[in-house]
Amino acid sequence: MSKLIYLDNAATTRVKDEVLTEIMPYFSQNYGNPSAIYSFAQEARKGVDEGRKRTADLIGAKPEEIFFTAGGSESDNWAIKSIAEAYAGKGKHIITSAIEHHAVLHTCEYLEKHGYEVTYLGVDEDGKISLKELENAIREDTILITIMTANNEIGTIEPVAEIGRIAHDHNVLFHTDAVQAYGHIPLNVDEMNIDLLSASGHKLGGPKGVGFLYIRKGVRIGSFIHGGAQERNRRAGTHNTTGIVGIGTAAKLAAENMNEIIKKEQSLRDHLIERVLNEIPYARLNGHRTDRLPGNASFCFRFVEGESLLILLDQLGICASSGSACTSGSLDPSHVLLAIGLPHEIAHGSVRLSLSEETTLEDIDFVVDNLKKIVERLRGMSPLYEDFVKNNR
């Protein structure tokens, strides 16, 4: 196999060298339990404190509003289930969107089985919710609005600040799943009226197995993992020192370099999008053209199926992902692609390429050159393409 071209950074990222360097001493040197009293453990305690501060700074939060978890899914589960429980006296209605990550959707479905009502807002063809529909969906008994900051598949960035304002105006709590956005685009919990925010370390060059839930001071929320007194009694379990140091370092690096990285990734992303749309017929871009994550490019290629495309890309050392049914283990293609109105057969031909700051122009050109050939080859054996050509002769 030739060189690896990793374009699945929305799935996970390479741990950055500086992050790894900072983590290493916490495995076998500063291995003390951060909750211990003796001075040996103080180094570990400092690592956790510094990690918390850096993690908080990136979104304009206070360190004591950051609660470390095992990742984005736990944070989403905790936020939604615990808010539902804590505010059940006020009401049992939750508003979310049809394109959320399954960590949110399946949690909402779980709550529906336990007496809660959930409104799933639809999205337009670019994957954006309608603020008017959101406002109309709010009721007396609405306790939570949970809408993602940016979509993991199609990259569309939701109008988070406006959602926060509407939630605030109606005295409803606002949670956002920012797993794809944290560290990639500017976020500020105060300016955006965000009450709860979920994020994960490994999407921004940090380690896997660590994430956090931001909880605005004053929001009533119970414990999700019961046990010890860590995280101000709200999330038990010995601190994941290496993880916390890692996410903190990744957050610090993101804060320092964000503008530069956004510029670089956007320019490569736009080059990729332009070349694909210009050079591959019957290709479409999924998601909003400009209000999208700097590193996300999602396409559908008509008449071909995503898994076949991925295997052929893999044979060239290119890592990508797809929302086709064949890659999900179910018969339906991605709920996100269906929600933006794509028919099944087009949704099956989706490919997501997600860039990082390490992606180069050569990588992108190599991918497009080969993508062209692969799509052409698969269309050559596609009965759908055969019919299309015959019908348009």
């Binding site: 199926e305 076949s308 018969l331 339906d332 596609s382």
Partner: protein, 145 residues
């Protein structure tokens, strides 16, 4: 996740293409679930399948099972072709992941659909051949019940 044989047939699919004025052609599956297979048969006056071509929209397993199915029926009589089951296709490919078994059912169905079309055109009946279903998932569902 795929066997070497599946990868070989995916990378170098046998008998891809179309046949002009085929003796029989059958298309099965639907774009909704992501797999469509079309098989073209050229059958001589002795009922021997002289040539087979296929086109498939689908995943790696769908392409590989179509390719293998065409190999298995080529040169066979109509009745022999009818005996090429999804199990035979799977065995010839050294197995498929469980979620991909339906691809082999689709390949079997494609053979039947092409034979059905041949029988219709000739005005004959082939023993043991049932009219193909539009949606393979329905048949899988029936079998599970």
């Amino acid at each position: 996740m795929y066997s070497e044989k599946v990868m070989d047939h995916f990378n170098n699919p046998r008998n891809v293409g179309e046949i002009e004025n085929p003796s029989g052609v059958g298309t099965v599956g639907n774009a909704k679930c992501g797999d469509i297979m079309r098989m073209y048969f050229d059958i001589d006056e002795n009922g021997i399948i002289q040539d087979v071509k296929f086109k498939t929209f689908g995943c790696g397993a769908a392409i590989a099972t179509s390719s293998m199915a065409t190999e298995l029926v080529k040169g066979k009589t109509v009745n022999e072709a009818l005996e090429v089951t999804n199990k035979a296709v799977m065995e010839a490919l050294d197995g498929l992941p469980p979620v991909k078994v339906h691809c082999s059912l689709l390949a079997e169905e494609a053979i039947h659909a092409a034979l059905w079309d041949y029988a219709q055109k000739k005005g004959i009946t082939i023993d043991g051949l049932k009219e193909p279903v539009d949606d393979i998932e329905e048949r899988i569902g029936d079998e599970e019940e």
